[in-house]
């Protein structure tokens, strides 16, 4: 089952990954990070197909794609 992990200390909440996900399984976290952002998170891991598009567009290289 593919899934992603977002490093909350690196994410700056630009949400380009949320925009890029073809399955729309990413969303905004409800908890605030140390840096004061609401980082991106995977809302529906069951929909993830491991296409790595979120990883490709992430400007802060905060995403790890795991299978």
């Amino acid at each position: 089952m593919p899934r992603i992990e977002v490093d909350a200390n690196k994410c700056k909440a630009c949400y380009l990954c949320v925009n890029a996900c073809p399955k729309k399984c990413l969303g905004k976290s409800k908890t605030i990070s140390k840096k004061g952002y609401f980082p991106a998170e995977q809302e529906r891991p069951e929909d993830c197909i491991g296409c790595k598009m979120c990883y490709l567009v992430c400007p802060d290289v905060a995403i790890t794609v795991i299978k």
Partner: protein
């Protein structure tokens, strides 16, 4: 459990200072992946510019120097000539490369120095606060062009790839964008090719990356991507302008 994609080894595990949605981080990752794939991280000497990427030395796990404004290609020339075994790159923005550094980039191409130049074009001066750059689009608002760039007053934007393609010494010139996953993959191919050329001794290689600057464009990260697609790419068409390494 297998890892499909993770931060490349040549990119240090530290948060970057770039604004949310900025294209610099994507280009840094593509370059770090190239260093890992070509196994050249131990041979790299990079030249950081004056501009937003001035702290690039904090992010790459390789040797770096930081040059005076626009002088990246001249510094890279000196390093490459004194240490021919090193893989030397100059990372520059549009205010750095296309205005004050115009002479250095043109003459590095004329001499066909065997270096790789990564040119980030976001049509504005980023670090200093959104002033008009030589690459600013006609009608685009900047802090020094509050009514938009007027060609009668400030001239037209400059297309560096097309200009350098006229020079015999330039060997690889490509323009790519980082606005979508598809374009990021194409950008990776171009950056990898530019470093492979240097490893193979082909000569001067430059990749121009059309990058987004949401902060100084006064846009959200999503609007900035739209600006790249609807305004920047029509002025700066993507593609490979010269590829003499393949012959």
């Amino acid at each position: 459990m297998t890892i499909l994609a993770q931060r490349p080894k040549s990119l240090l595990d530290v948060p970057m200072h770039y604004c949310p949605g900025c294209g610099h981080g994507i280009v840094h990752r593509l370059m770090a992946e190239t260093f890992d794939e070509l196994d050249i991280a131990q041979r790299i000497i990079g030249v950081a510019p004056v501009g937003c990427a001035v702290f690039a030395d904090s992010y790459f796990a390789c040797d770096m120097v930081q040059g005076a404004h626009g002088r990246g290609p001249a510094i890279a020339t000196g390093i490459k000539r004194s240490k021919p075994g090193a893989i030397v790159f100059s990372y520059q923005g549009d205010g750095d490369l296309a205005s004050i550094g115009m002479a250095e980039i043109v003459h590095a191409a004329v001499r066909s120095e065997n270096i790789t130049v990564i040119f980030i074009n976001n049509a504005i001066y980023g670090m200093t606060g959104g002033q008009m750059a030589p690459t600013t689009l006609v009608g685009q608002v900047a802090t020094t062009a509050p009514k938009g760039r007027d060609p009668k007053l400030q001239g037209w934007p400059i297309n560096m790839c097309e200009m350098l393609a006229q020079i015999t010494g330039s060997k690889y010139l490509a323009r790519v964008a980082v606005d979508s996953a598809q374009n990021v993959m194409k950008a990776k191919q171009a950056i990898k090719k530019a470093f492979e050329n240097q490893v193979n001794g082909v000569g001067f290689s430059m990749v121009e990356v059309i990058s987004q600057c949401p902060t100084n464009w006064g846009a959200t990260p999503m609007q900035a991507l739209e600006f790249v697609r609807t305004k920047m790419i029509p002025q700066y068409p993507l593609g490979v302008f010269k590829d003499e390494g393949a012959k």
